[in-house]
């Protein structure tokens, strides 16, 4: 895994751009309700984005009866092989974090696959709450952003 998807909760201003970018990127007719990343508001203009963790020992992949959820060794993401999915929705019930989403419009399961190594939500995030960083950098504690700091 060369890069890591990082969420810095403190930076999220709940603007919803990631949800929109995701909904558009994945052919969900741009409906923000069909996004794979979900923001929970925790105050005025403050949010907590929740998105698939791509768990090491993933419940969704373990429960899938058709091996339709497969790890992409390059990005580290668990990807959905659409042709193998039988829409039994076991993964939706199995995910302990609620990150497998049933899409009623397309009758299929939606999950974050890091857009195959180019997460479309990241460039739309205006506060760098979502970042896609080289593995070494991602482990470092995020500094307050220079332009967001009141002293500057």
């Amino acid at each position: 895994m060369e890069k890591i998807y990082r969420v810095v909760v403190e930076r999220c201003i709940a603007c919803g751009k990631c949800e929109l970018a995701c909904a558009f990127a994945h052919g969900s007719e741009g409906k923000p309700s069909k996004t794979r990343i979900n923001i929970f508001k925790r105050g005025p203009e403050l949010g907590t984005p929740v998105v698939c963790f791509q768990c090491d020992d993933a419940a969704c992949a373990a429960v899938c009866p058709t091996e339709a959820l497969v790890r992409n060794e390059k990005t580290g993401a668990i990807e959905m092989v659409r042709e193998r999915c039988i829409s039994c929705r076991m993964c939706v019930a199995a995910c302990p974090f609620g990150n497998m989403l049933w899409d009623e419009t397309y009758h299929c399961v939606q999950k974050c696959d890091l857009c195959g190594g180019d997460p479309k939500c990241v460039p739309f995030c205006p506060t760098h709450a979502l970042e896609y960083l080289p593995a070494g950098e991602a482990a470092r504690k995020p500094e307050p952003l220079a332009w967001a700091s009141p002293s500057k």
Partner: protein
């Protein structure tokens, strides 16, 4: 690796590859109705018929369903001979007689060169093409609530004795996989009905949204070893819990020295 010839093109595939996959790998299109990448091959629709022969067979060849036939070293495969086309047209013709109004069947038949059926059309037109994707998907998830019953013209997909199937868990996988969407089901707030069986839904203990059937929860719990209380919360409320935990963590990180 073994090597075989498909329409004159030599392809190398691992041993155990199905002939259908070898043909598609060689870049040739084969129409199928009952094949599914996640399910065992079944040989039901008979549309993937091809001729196979060998050099030493002196021109003799046999017709096989490529989805069930293993690729063999030295095999010579012909996917588009006059005989194959004619046989596929008979299959399409019969399917069209059975399902005259089904768009998928009309499309597949037209692709194979059959515009209208030459047989007496089915007096009771149906959309079911007997591909058995529904029964196979049900078997595959370990439920086996439905099966194909009777033979010949009277064959159909049904639960045992046409009663509400006791084993059905109401997951709707059969209805979702059906290529002609001919398995009816109804969902309403709090209940789901399929195959004549009505399921009570479990409601999220926090937001009250109906999210899985009781039978699904029991099946998943038995399959995975999690307690049934695992399904107390719906996916949206589980996400909310996650968000709260993140928030707590980030606040903790900010106040820590």
């Amino acid at each position: 690796m073994i090597s075989l010839s498909v329409n004159g093109k030599t392809v190398r595939v691992p041993e155990g590859t199905r002939l259908l996959d070898a043909i598609r790998g060689a870049g040739f299109d084969v129409t199928t109705l009952c094949d599914h990448p996640a399910l065992e091959p079944w040989g039901g629709c008979r549309l993937c018929l091809v001729d196979v022969t060998r050099k030493e067979w002196d021109g003799w060849c046999k017709m096989v369903v490529s989805c069930m036939f293993p690729a063999e070293d030295g095999l010579v495969v012909l996917t588009d001979t006059e005989r194959v086309q004619r046989t596929r047209r008979v299959v399409a013709d019969l399917l069209l007689a059975r399902c005259p109004d089904t768009p998928l069947v009309q499309k597949v038949a037209a692709r194979l060169g059959v515009e209208r059926t030459s047989y007496a059309p089915n007096p009771e037109p149906t959309d079911c093409i007997l591909c058995a994707l529904c029964t196979r998907v049900c078997d595959h998830i370990g439920v086996s609530a439905i099966a194909s019953v009777n033979r010949g013209a009277g064959r159909e997909i049904a639960p045992p004795f046409h009663d509400a199937p006791p084993d059905c868990i109401g997951c709707l996988a059969c209805a979702e996989i059906c290529p002609t969407s001919c398995i009816p089901y109804e969902t309403s707030d709090g209940s789901r009905t399929i195959w004549g069986k009505t399921f009570e839904m479990l409601r999220c203990t926090r937001c009250g949204r109906a999210h899985v059937t009781k039978e699904e929860a029991r099946h998943f719990a038995a399959r995975t070893g999690v307690p049934e209380s695992y399904f107390d919360l719906c996916d949206a409320c589980k996400r909310e819990d996650m968000a709260k935990q993140f928030t707590r963590l980030s606040e903790g990180a900010r106040t820590s020295p």
